[in-house]
Amino acid sequence: MSITIHLPSVLARLADGNRVLEASGDTLGAAVLDVATRFPSLGERLRDQRGNPYPFVNYFLNDEDARFHGGFEASVRDGDEVTVVPSIAGG
């Protein structure tokens, strides 16, 4: 199972400069945990100490806000793409 995770540049520097990572897992949370384990510094930015997403970090699963699909509980399948976007803009 391979999930592609796209990182913004502010986070890519915590993943050895990689803007794109491959991850495995059955849920979004499991895929995030996978990369968090491989890149501990990145992991601290992707999820809090209880393993939940931060309010300032949005996850998009195949271009849709993951919160509409259960957040970290959302099921993911081989080939899915996850985009991590800091919550910054508006209006």
């Binding site: 913004p8 540049s9 502010v10 986070l11 930015r45 931060y54 309010p55 300032f56 970090v57 949005n58 998009f60 271009d63 806000d65 919160r67 509409f68 985009t83 976007v85 800091p86 919550s87 910054i88 803009a89 508006g90 209006g91």
Partner: protein
């Protein structure tokens, strides 16, 4: 002329400091960055402010730069208009309209935030100016970018009103219509800002952009004769305006320019996209994102970046929020027009309709001195009124036809009066 230098930044979430840069995200916690001011700077007196040109730059000590601004020197200081007939309708002591429907140069409140953002873009030597927009920001970026000779890229939802599209394209902007909601556009522009070395007004320049909103509060205080209203109603999209109103009022109180408390802040949203209003009503620290379904497209943001901060500002000041239906907002547009002569767009209709709701529910009362923030111009969204207004008669150029119409109108008014008094 001395060079304009943007102020350094500080994270609103973790407090980490950062050098001035076209970056809006804290590299430590990904929280939002705010401009950091020199607390020892010399602040002007009322008299000094009043002696300056009537633009938002008369408050430049509270804007995120050192030195003299170079661009958009005509923006701000829109009229504050008293509205006694509307005050009677609402059952409050006094009402004033802060009329950004006539803002320079593009007829919306967004001229203010773009005035600060474009000065930041030029100071950072960025060669392209851009935004994600629900329409008014698109107009402001295109207009101010054009006169600054900066190429502009503007990203909007594909189905915006014709006035918003024409009012962007006319300035020569690269206008891109994205299939999806504003929140899809917003996410795309976060990626655009990350990929290209552009100044995206409400993304990587957001720390400088947002500060322009405070000038609404500064102008209200000065135009009221250096005093505070007791309540303010403002529309909420991303939630930034409400938070910056609070900050602006607090800064003038702290500077000793006005005495009293920050007014109670009330937020207005359309029921078809009201994540902040629902957070205020429900309580808690996290909103639930929504997929917008309203004709109030200029404020249809289902994932508001400043939503949590806006809800906090409302609660802390003793305010409240209201979410109104599309028919109510259309009625709000008409009520404002018929009582004040001001024609606002859908967001303004939401604001007026929310004030009606808040008055009916007792949140606004007979002692309330209220300011309504009208943030956009009705000529940009005429479509929403197409079915709401009466058909105009078409007649031959004959006096007897006018006489017949006058007689018919008089009869209608007599009937209506009889019904009311009966």
């Amino acid at each position: 002329m001395n060079t304009l230098v943007p102020r350094p930044l500080v994270c609103r979430n973790c407090g980490a400091a950062q050098d001035a840069a076209p970056v809006a995200i804290c590299e430590h916690c990904l929280g939002p960055l705010d401009a950091a001011y020199d607390q020892a700077r010399t602040l002007p007196s009322r008299e000094v402010i009043a002696s300056r040109p009537a633009t938002l730059w008369r408050y430049r000590e509270w804007l995120p730069f050192d030195g003299e601004p170079r661009l958009s020197l005509d923006t701000g200081f829109t009229p504050l208009v008293e509205a006694p007939t509307l005050a009677d309708r609402l059952g409050v002591a006094r009402v004033w309209i802060k009329n950004d429907a006539v803002s320079h140069p593009s007829l919306s409140f967004k001229d203010r935030v773009v005035a600060t953002a474009i000065n930041a873009a030029v100071a950072f030597k960025l060669d392209t100016f851009a935004c994600a927009s629900t329409g008014n920001l698109a107009n402001a970026v295109a207009a101010q970018g054009a006169r600054a000779c900066l190429p502009t890229w503007v990203f909007i939802p594909h189905d915006l009103e014709a006035g918003k599209i024409v009012g962007t394209s006319v300035y020569g902007a690269h206008l891109v219509r994205v299939r999806g909601t504003y929140d899809d556009v917003n996410r795309l522009c976060a990626q655009v800002a990350d990929r290209f070395a552009w100044g995206v007004a409400n993304v990587n320049l957001r720390s400088y952009y947002g500060e322009g909103s405070k000038t609404v509060a500064f102008e209200i205080v000065e135009q009221l004769g250096w005093r505070l209203p007791t309540a303010v109603v403002a529309p909420m999209a991303g939630g930034s305006l409400v938070t910056k109103l609070r900050k602006g009022f607090a800064e003038f109180i702290a500077a000793g320019l006005v005495s009293g408390s920050v007014p109670r802040l009330f937020g207005a949203q359309a029921a078809g996209c009201a994540p902040i209003a629902r957070l205020v009503e429900r309580g808690g620290d996290a909103f639930t994102p929504e997929i917008p379904n309203t004709i109030a497209r200029s404020i249809a943001i289902g994932n508001p970046a400043d939503g949590v901060f806006a809800a906090r500002a409302i609660r802390d000041t003793g305010g409240w929020a209201a979410a109104v239906s599309d028919p109510e907002l259309v009625a709000g547009i008409r009520l404002l027009a018929e009582t004040t002569g001001i024609f606002t767009e859908t967001a303004g209709g939401v604001t007026v309709a929310a004030a009606v709701r808040l008055a009916e529910s007792g949140h606004l009362g007979p002692d309330t001195e209220l300011v309504l923030c009208i943030t956009g111009n009705g000529l940009k969204t005429v479509e929403v009124l197409a079915d709401a207004l009466p058909q105009s008669p078409v007649i031959a150029p004959k006096l007897r036809e006018v006489a017949a119409l006058v007689e018919a109108v008089a009869a209608q008014e007599l009937t209506a009066h009889s019904a009311l008094s009966g």
